[in-house]
């Protein structure tokens, strides 16, 4: 039982890395709290559902399509909202409300357009039967989700640490004001980060029908809680930190399910508070968060 819980926690947690990755990027670069993150994920899930239902498109292709469309969609959303928001006195706090409003809009439009019934993509699409690892049987869809997540983390890492735009992005993360002073086009860098951030949510969404059984337009809020726990436990700005956060979240959740199942949902909350209080810089970070 213990090994089963640890292993599936690891795989499940890797998927939750992908769930948190985009949120991390957006908060790290723009210092805004994207409460609509879970709703972008939900949109990705609906996109994958319809691409499969109408054209029989495999989720991997759907993920590529979502990546392109969401990045392109993210740029105008950024320019419409964020520069204006950042002029406000307390932009960080206001962002919570603004994105709550956006989240409401997305959920409402999706409910009106597609109805509120549960949707999913048949599991056989990602392979039938369990995958056996170390004598433990895991759904093949979970292994898929984890693998895609690993690829996404690697890409984000390469982008941030091996490209010019990426290093500019990191400069904005460290200090927006200094980046502005040194002549970096902060808005261009941020807009791209925003697009990538919601695209990562969208890709996570493509696999949500497999990882979560099914999706409805109301999925967003519960995803946010998990995503916040993952990125806070990891370290902001650092995709590898998000991996750690995801794994801790996944393994913790599965251990709770095994030994204290009815308390399982209290875990992400306690984890988040504990890490913030005792190691506010995150498990891999430097001290930057205190008041």
């Amino acid at each position: 039982m213990l090994i089963g819980a640890l292993l599936s926690g690891l795989v499940f947690g890797l998927y939750f890395t992908l769930v948190g990755l985009g949120l991390n990027l957006v908060f790290g670069v723009m210092r805004i709290v994207n409460l609509a993150h879970g709703d972008f994920l939900m949109l990705g899930a609906f996109a994958a559902y319809w691409m499969f239902a109408l054209f029989g498109l495999h989720p991997l292709y759907a993920a590529l399509a979502v990546l392109v469309v969401f990045v392109v969609l993210g740029l105008p959303i950024y320019y419409l909202i964020v520069p204006r928001l950042q002029m406000a006195r307390d932009a960080e706090m206001l962002s919570i409300i603004l994105f709550f409003g956006l989240s409401q809009m997305i959920e409402a439009v999706t409910s009106i357009a597609f109805g509120t019934t549960e949707r999913s993509i048949p599991g056989r699409v990602l392979g039938t039967g369990p995958v056996t690892i170390l004598g433990q049987r895991l759904p093949s869809a979970w292994v898929f989700g984890a693998a895609v997540s690993a690829i996404a983390v690697a890409c984000v890492y390469l982008y941030l640490y091996r490209t010019r735009l990426g290093s500019l992005t990191r400069a904005v993360m460290v200090s927006r004001d200094e980046a502005l002073a040194t002549g970096i086009d902060v808005h261009r860098v941020s807009a791209l980060a925003f697009g990538i951030g919601i695209a990562l949510a969208g890709i996570a969404g493509v696999f949500a029908p497999f990882m979560l059984g099914s999706v409805t337009p109301a999925l967003g809020p519960e995803i946010n809680v998990a995503a916040f726990a993952v990125i806070v436990v990891g370290t902001l700005g650092n995709p590898l930190g998000t991996v750690l956060g995801g794994i801790i979240y996944g393994v913790g959740l599965m251990l709770m399910q095994t030994y204290f199942s009815s308390w399982a949902n209290i875990l992400p909350n306690l984890l988040l508070i504990a890490v913030l209080l005792f190691r506010p810089e995150g498990l891999l970070g430097r001290a930057t968060r205190r008041a």
């Binding site: 307390d90 706090m93 209080l277």
Partner: protein, 305 residues
């Protein structure tokens, strides 16, 4: 002195208006919700407007108040006034437990507070505590149900809350809080106790939410943990307070009257696009009125109560 009278006048006006409203308009529950959000938005104002800390899990105190009330009625056989005191005490104790969160700043404080409220909900709703809280099965307090009395209690709480805000705006203590908010380091050097000031504002804010939660439990009398800990309470309180403009008395009041009014108007007139219109409205407000409604006046140098 003139200022104090302006503030007090507004407070008295609102309280009297809400006290007589049920005799004019018969949807008393809607009026109750107005009174409730007026208090909650001001309670949030006490902590956010005067210290800059935004508790996004403000509903945690509200829920603690509601369940404190319910437990006192169910297990201790308390009448509503005593039960309300227990609810308020529960909220204040929770606030004391959460004081370490002040080590965090900005969004971290907001998110940690949200997680804390969720954690309290998970504890209350857990079937392991069925004997104490009735767990996920919800509480029924039909024995104390008395909507007129609970409405009166809510108005009394509103009066207390508004007086508190008037005091904060016009007292030495309120002034020191605002000094802390602007620049905690200089304030500390000027001899203001930063920790003490923040903690008092925090406890007062939780006290208000706890009292309101107690009156809510009394008013609805049958509820589930999902009801008492619904994130909607936090979000509405925050949105209303910010829309009106914090650190004033008028702002959160206007925020509730206008936005909650619009909310109900949309809900009744165009229910099928309710959520969409309201979401759009919130986005537009933040983008076009980021410092709140009262900023339209204060920008022109007009002092708003």
């Amino acid at each position: 002195m003139h200022r104090v009278f302006n503030d007090l006048g507004l407070a008295v006006l609102v309280v009297v208006a809400m006290a007589v409203a049920p005799s004019i308009y018969s949807n008393q529950l809607l009026l109750f919700n107005f009174v409730m959000f007026l208090s909650l938005a001001q309670g949030l104002n006490v902590i956010y407007g005067f210290t800059g800390y935004l508790p996004f899990g403000y509903v945690g105190f509200f829920g603690a108040g509601a369940y404190g009330f319910a437990l006192a009625v169910m297990h201790l056989g308390f009448g509503p006034p005593g039960a309300m005191a227990v609810g308020a005490a529960a909220a204040v104790v929770l606030a004391l437990i959460l004081t370490p969160l002040f080590r965090l700043s900005g969004a971290y404080f907001a998110i940690a507070n949200l997680a804390a409220a969720q954690a309290v909900y998970e504890v209350v709703a857990n079937p392991a505590l069925e004997d104490v809280t009735k767990g996920p099965y919800g509480v029924s307090l039909s024995g104390v149900f008395a909507p007129n009395a609970s409405y009166a209690a809510a108005v009394a709480i509103l009066a207390f809350t508004l007086l508190l805000v008037v005091w904060l705006r016009n007292s030495q203590f309120g002034l020191s809080l605002r000094a802390i908010k602007e620049d905690p380091i200089s304030a500390a050097m000027a001899g203001v106790s930063v920790v003490r000031g923040r903690t008092i504002a925090w406890l007062l804010s939780a006290l208000i939410a706890g009292l309101v939660g107690g009156s809510f439990a009394w008013e609805v009398s049958v509820f589930y943990p999902e009801t008492a800990f619904s994130p909607q309470f936090s979000i509405f309180a925050v949105v209303f307070a910010l829309f009106g403009g914090t650190a004033t008395l008028t702002g959160p009041l206007l925020g509730v009257f206008i936005l909650y009014g619009v909310y109900n108007w949309i809900g009744i007139s165009v229910p099928q696009y309710f959520q969409l219109i309201y979401g759009t409205l919130i986005v537009a407000l933040v983008l076009f009125l980021p410092n709140g409604l009262v900023s339209l006046l204060t920008r022109r140098g007009i002092r708003v109560p």
